[in-house]
């Protein structure tokens, strides 16, 4: 698609809005491509982004995130919601990185028109993955999905940012293996609006709940602040799914925190988009090979990255 083809983009936006699955797939490919056409498509669709409830599910590999998402998809479908799933976790079953049993279970949604599953794998510009995920959520929302689940492994800055673009985040932990300490150390406690202790039939589940509660008790919550609840689940047995969904609704109903959360997500999203737009401008402005020559000088130890960046900035902006 040529980036100046306004009519084509207008038509694709219309097809997405009508919920055409093939148009949806094409639109998602477009927003993953970091193209001008993708940006213009989002310009047409982003206003719809707010119409879907975007739920992030974060946690270490092996915590059972995919199974939990599977249960939540069933639950939301049972309530009549149209559902989208974005799998950002490279170890997710959705992307094929897991045992066959899980893959078969997820394939059960394949015949259901009300469920659209997509794995995200952009590895382009810095922050590209979280940008593309936010755009993809907007596309799914425009296509009429009421709920969008984003599954992401909670390790890495970009992955933490993805949790930030969701309207709320579930942090999934499991008993044993020192995962409680690990999660707390990784600095992802802060992104959790709801804690899930999955595999709660295992030994140590209550200790993990206590450890999370203890951590929360050290934080200061104002009278009107949302205090993250801790919900126990056994996702493989579909236990605890309804309480998780109820907690999601409770957070959404908790006006102040949900709005503040969304504002923070939007701010980091805009900052990232602005940085990318600036870089495109600068790279378009610099004379040919200028950037490459500066890279060579830094690599040779003739200058440092900061002085080099300042010199390039001076050349572009004056």
């Amino acid at each position: 698609m040529r980036s100046d083809d306004t009519l084509e983009i207008e038509r694709l936006a219309g097809e997405v809005r009508r919920g055409d699955p093939r148009a949806l797939a094409r639109a998602l490919t477009l927003v993953e491509s970091e193209s001008q056409a993708g940006r213009r498509l989002i310009g047409r669709l982003y206003a719809d982004r707010r119409r879907a409830r975007v739920v992030g599910i974060t946690g270490p590999p092996g915590a059972g995130k995919s199974t939990l998402v599977d249960g939540l998809v069933r639950h939301a479908r049972g309530l009549g919601h149209a559902v989208g799933v974005l799998a950002v976790d490279p170890t997710s079953v959705f992307t094929g990185g897991a045992i066959l049993g899980d893959r078969i279970r997820m394939a059960a949604h394949a015949g259901d028109d009300g469920v659209f599953i997509r794995s995200m794998a952009t590895r382009g510009e810095l922050g590209g993955l979280s940008r593309a995920t936010d755009d993809a959520a907007a596309v799914l929302a425009a296509a009429g999905k009421d709920v969008v689940f984003i599954e992401t492994v909670g390790v890495g800055q970009d992955e933490v940012d993805i949790a930030g673009v969701a309207d709320l985040s579930l942090l999934v932990l499991v008993p044993g293996a020192g995962d409680d300490v690990q999660a707390i150390k990784a600095g992802i406690m802060e992104i959790a609006d709801i804690f899930i202790v999955n595999k709660a039939d295992r030994e140590g589940a209550d200790r993990l709940v206590q450890s999370i509660e203890m951590n929360l008790s050290l934080q200061t919550f104002g009278e009107h602040d949302w205090r993250p609840p801790v919900v126990k689940t056994v996702a493989t047995a579909s236990e605890g799914i309804a309480p998780v969904w109820d907690a999601v609704l409770a957070f959404a109903a908790h006006g102040g925190s949900a709005a503040a959360r969304r504002r923070r997500g939007t701010e980091s999203r805009l900052r990232r988009t602005l940085a990318a737009a600036l870089m495109r401008r600068v790279e378009g402005t610099l004379p040919a090979h200028t950037f490459e020559r500066v890279v060579d000088r830094v690599a040779a130890g003739e200058t440092d990255p900061y002085s080099a960046a300042d010199a390039l900035l001076l050349q572009v902006l004056g």
Copy 2:
């Protein structure tokens, strides 16, 4: 430290060069702080960055990276090298996220002046972790460390970027648990200059080696290209450490690939630094509350992030 205190920075640079451990610790804190003073310090020290061999060790949690680094530190010390360790993995034993036995083993280096260990935990600007890690490597190199090991979990864009700033990267995998598939899916095969199959005394080690070799055989290597070797280790028994080190030296001796690798790392480093410098400039130029008001408009669905970024760009650059 005031950012205009040129004399102070000059003095600190001098103390780092003399290898003063307290100055080294202060310098590392400074470059982690995303401050003007830190950037100026790096301006003084970055030319030394090339003097150290910077080795990235990447792999999923539980692959035994810390134990392998421990073995490599001992080996390098035995050869008379001064060594620095930067632990970026939030689940690393260096940062306290693991069992006591491991922590005690690493503490064995505590009395050795030739080893400096530091954990990195910057969670600031996007790409801040890889920037800070590259700067920290430069500081350690200036302080006379011959070898700098960077331990990082290979999940997440910023973590992949960290592997990119190293002069070469070891990818550590372990038999079983579908880790072979997982690693290949995660898109981190590409960053490996040397593959390590750790816990090679376990069942499935040979199958994992074959799976890596199979994957490599699908790639095209030119006559003069480096083809990543696969080395088996049992890090807990210090087995296979010397062959790993020999592979590191072989890569360094393989001129073309090592230089190309370093150039790619420098390019991504410069791009990131330039983006951050641009953002500082823009945020310093915009009238008060302008950015916040635009965030509100995007959050309200009145505009999309791309159109908003373009409008801000127009306001700043014309």
